[in-house]
Amino acid sequence: MNTSIHSVLMQGDEACAEGAIAAGCRFFAGYPITPATEIAELLARRLPQVGGVFIQMEDEIASLAAVIGASVGGAKAMTATSGPGLSLMQEHIGYAAMAEIPCVIVDVQRLGPATGRPTSPAQGDVMAARWGSHGDYPIIVLSPSSVREVFDLTVKAFNFAEQYRTPVILLMDEVIGHMRERVTLPPPDAIERTERAVTTVPPEWYKPYENFPADVPPLLPFGEGYRYHITGLHHDERGYPTEQVDEIRPWLDRIFRKIERNLSDILLYEENGVEDAETLVIAYGVTARVARHAVEMSRERGRKVGFLKLQTLWPFPEEVVEHAAARLHRIVVPELNMGQLAREVERVAGRHKVHRINRADGEIMQPSEIVAVIEGWTV
């Protein structure tokens, strides 16, 4: 028996901090905000113990800027915030996408908009995470629904960020962040870590934004002899500003392609009883816990209910939903917002098939709310 494996009682925010360290994160810059403050507090203690750096910044704008700087310096870097902080970070999220800087942004969602209700759960940042910064860019957004999943998806977030040179948002929520669960964490040697690609080309050949042949050109840390240019302006393969359509277009195509070509790696979800289902419930985050319970309740009463739990929200798993929806007439999408991911499900499955359950008042859903819709439809 491996004695290094043991169960611990752990909070979601704590699992995020530990997952970050396990993934190799050695730089955190952030700003206090409920319900994400615990991640900063824990990393303030933990990072110095592993030779990492914790910096409390003067606001969220500075926090993500420092993270981007640290990543260019070669570190796996992260920040953690909640909705108001995510709003402030949006300019830099677009910058990280434009300059293709790997970084992880944790958003422990609380009820918005504005200050909202800082200690209440919500899932209202789903669209802000996808489309919050101006302009066109792809992004990866993951959403955990248990403390163990927080740990695993934090590791994944770093791996995806490094693998695809992209900002990755870990979209938690207040309940998942503050909830304590008994978890068994994987031993350190069982954790898969993706390291940033390196190159053997000499400095004078290096092109940090090379469009061919690979979709993800290596990003070399500053200070190792490779002199290159990083900017938020549109740039050519060397990173120099460009106004040439024939340079902007291939870049734009490539940054979308690097995500789209790797969907089988990026799309994380769990299906349960979908094959013979008459009704499908699609949920994520804290609502997935409630939905699972509702699905079980309905099944006990003889309903054929399938369950699709999404861990990757963006890119949206179109084909998975499309495939399931083709055989189904009813899809129930419960979420703690006024219908954000449901819009995507409707787009893929057709509006008439989708029944939204929305709650954005600071309370989590009751299983009965979902059961009522499942069974109201199947009667």
Binding site: A44, P48, Q56, D59, A114
Partner: protein, 311 residues
Amino acid sequence: MATKLIPKELAKRPDRLSPGHRLCAGCGASIVVRQMLAAIDAPVVIANATGCLEVATTIYPYTAWRVPWMHNAFENAASTITGIEAAYRSLVRQGKIPEQNVKFIAFGGDGGTYDIGLQALSGAVERGHQFLYVCYNNEAYMNTGIQRSSATPLGAHTTTSPAGEVIPGKQQKRKDLTMIMAAHDIPYVAQAAPSQWRDLMQKTRKAVDCGGAAFMNVLASCNRGWRHATDETVELTQLAVDTCYWPLYEVENGQWRLTYKPKEKLPVEEWLKRQGRFRHLFRPENRHLIDELQAEVDRRWERLLRLCGET
């Protein structure tokens, strides 16, 4: 005719921040706000940054404020009061509302002022809006549970500058925001403390009557973060003043003036040893930090004496 600053008269005035709010027992912020508002006879309008004062005075479904009050976000109390003040003066100029000598005040904690709100504050005073910005300074982010700010002193334990076996609390010195605001060359800048209530109230009057932008930095202990008994708030604030850690002074139209000179300048240790956040500094290996803090206090005090023409 302004109300005389004598306790009997002041006690008769209705509180503008009413009792029943949920700031902690012994919180310095509410003492500061009540004293300052009691000093002003004119109508006031308040913008409040996110923080303890905002949260604990407006707990659903109540408000403790008996004056018009607005909360916007963490970083923008100064910008928000800018809009209110400019609109008021515009409406007065157009003759749409009567001039009532309204005083515009923004309250923010040190996080909302020294850190995230500094840009908004600097912009608002540079534009010359006629308002008073008050930083109630408890030297950390207390609302989210005691994280360090740039007002947190060297060596202090907070949850994001934890004192451990290797790193003894905050590694950086505190920012001198009052000096930064004085450098904006605005009509009135002052540093105050609630333990010198008359000084605080007189400064408040000068600030709101200065005819332009004014800034006051008021030390307001947080017993949860500083780690002291709830009945020691005023005493500890006064110790900060008497150790010259927190000198009381004002800068009026460029003229620096010390408004309180301790009879005997106490060692900063006298203030530090009363607070749990500095407890680790008294371990032998950390004593040098107390010396560093003393040196910083001495250096800043000497500089202030020179600026005030006291040497």
